[in-house]
Symmetry: C2
Subunit: 357 residues, 2 copies
């Protein structure tokens, strides 16, 4: 792959897809009729519980889904265990469950097995995928297209935010507030486009400053914990940086002791009830001599504690914040990879990546 | 705290508690009558779902609980969101749920709030804690003592394995196989004592070899994923090493691309259906030039792929494997901390750790 690159800019494919996000999100917002009909169909199943599953970025989207369904639709949701179904063949009665499998390709074998297994246990099943002809779509009762086309870059960007948008819209339609969320998503898409056109100037210098860093803590609480996990995954995949995502409370519970000035700490702050916990974490990291990066829709409130501020675009609905706040992590991963001489589009060893067993 | 240490050996408290584990596990195995009565009480609540919550090591024990309840008792279980209850005050009907909160001290404020909130939503609540007079015990319908006394070391050891033992025993009693698991746990306790008396000789040289490492991947699948998470937490807390726990499938899904020879990879292998996935991960890490450490009850089967083999004691029941396999991570964290000149009993900045907000 490296040979085929020619003079192409490192990470050009990744960057192109990253910048397509406002467009794919705006397109999602226009699919109100489809989401309305789907919600109607799902309501008939009388599911009382939502189980979400996926790998990598899709698993991070599932983290977000817990909050989207819980807070928008009042439906308990959780990240389900794939391995219990696939490796241990558990036999649960899932008649009360809506099971949502997230997979960009729709071809990850154990996600397909997981959904087929859930269907055989009586669950109502939904596939969220870019490919409606995939094996995953085939085994599901209903499907939602990501509307992204096939993602070319190794590291997911537009499929991740599309998954977030879909989970939010679905929860909103189930709750009867689909239109409100659709127009908020459209507004969020515009806000993201404006943000991407003029990202925080601190971003590039930050990449230069963290060139030698091999580790980082990434902290958040609530819906933004999905952003912490996804930012960590981007930095691991594209920059070989071992970033540890932790909730602010888990951080305070022990890992705070690990901090030294060589342990940059990134906090994704939401402008909601979790803000005091984010502020407390920022203060502790600062006291330990760490560089404290703050992003998120609540970043402004932590200006005093931050070494570097990367404020996100303002969110028209609090629950759409994670769709906007991941952009800082996505762009920083690109900047850091380039600064390190790595190409996000051609990571070493990628020829060895095949479909997971 | 550093001033008060005097000539005491670094990590002496942590080591003492680590070596108390066989004793606390054997004592658990003798509480059959108590677990039988508790299972009887819980059965009457007709819970169809188990929700588990805790922070840090207790959250890792909750990962294990998903498998203990799922595989031993046939009960769906999952790690619940604490923040949905504590920060966002969700209003779910939890009449169908057994909610188990795990907290060594029983004083972590948001775990106490979480359990009180669950009780107000109709759940049957259980506290698992070292302190039966704690606020957590007070809000719960039923309590199980860890039987460890107060843990003195900052980094949990014996309370973690006690939590695992309690979850396994409780699931076993719910399934009517309490006696079988109690005698298996007693056997496991003896096996652990023998292992601790003569740990793998490769352990100390490994600490010397990884002295400069700042990051690591720790891989497992199924019940041993709890071990991967807990090993990562121990290394972060006591050695400032940023270890990323990943399932073998998530690893193959992207992060494999991050590997370079400076990214040691630790695989916890179980002798069950997940072994081929562990072997595939080991082969990929090996091909990327990484040092591949293999522990767990299935380590022997991966001798060919391993750079360093740290086999765990043999488990009398597959589901008790994680109780035995965490010991390698616990001991290695001590060895690495000492090699680095760090004291697990007096981590920097610990005076700043107060009860989480």
């Amino acid at each position: 792959m490296n040979q085929a690159r020619g003079a192409r800019e490192a990470g050009a494919v990744y960057r192109r897809e990253l910048y397509q996000q406002p467009e794919t999100l705006a397109a999602l917002a226009k699919r109100g009729e489809e989401f309305g009909a789907l919600a109607e169909q799902l309501r008939r199943s009388r599911s009382r519980l939502v189980r979400l599953a996926g790998h990598g970025s899709s698993d991070n989207a599932a983290s977000y889904g817990t909050y989207a369904f819980g807070l928008i639709a009042g439906l308990p949701a959780f990240r389900d265990s794939i391995s219990l179904a696939v490796y241990y063949d558990t036999d649960f009665d899932l008649a009360d469950s809506l099971v949502i499998a997230l997979s960009q390709s729709g071809r990850t074998p154990d996600v397909v097995s997981y959904l087929a297994h859930a269907a055989s246990q009586g669950a109502t099943t939904l596939a969220v995928t870019a490919d409606l002809d995939s094996p995953l779509a085939e085994v599901a009762d209903a499907c939602v297209s990501l509307g992204t086309g096939q993602e070319e870059a190794i590291a997911a960007t537009k499929t991740y935010t599309a998954e977030l948008g879909i989970l939010a819209l679905l929860a909103a339609h189930l709750a009867g507030v689909g239109e409100r969320y659709a127009s908020a998503l459209e507004e969020a898409a515009s806000a993201l486009a404006a943000w991407l056109a003029a990202p925080p100037p601190a971003l590039e210098p930050l990449a230069a400053a963290l060139l030698e860093s091999k580790r980082m803590m990434i902290l958040a609480r609530g819906p933004e914990f999905a952003t912490a996990r996804e930012t960590a995954l981007k930095l691991l995949e594209t920059c070989r940086l071992a970033a540890t995502p932790l909730t602010t409370t888990d951080f305070a519970h022990g890992p705070v002791a690990a901090l030294d000035p060589d342990f940059p700490t990134w906090i994704i702050a939401a402008a909601d009830a979790t803000l005091p916990a984010a502020r407390a974490a920022a203060e502790r990291a600062r006291a330990a001599g760490c560089s404290v990066i703050v992003s998120g829709t609540g970043a402004g409130a932590l200006a005093e504690q931050a070494s570097v501020l990367l404020p996100s675009a303002a969110s028209p609905e609090p629950l759409l914040g994670p769709i906007l706040s991941i952009a800082a992590g996505q762009l920083f991963a690109l900047a850091l990879a380039r600064a390190k001489g790595l190409d996000p589009d051609a990571p070493a060893g990628i020829s060895k990546v095949t479909l997971a067993p």
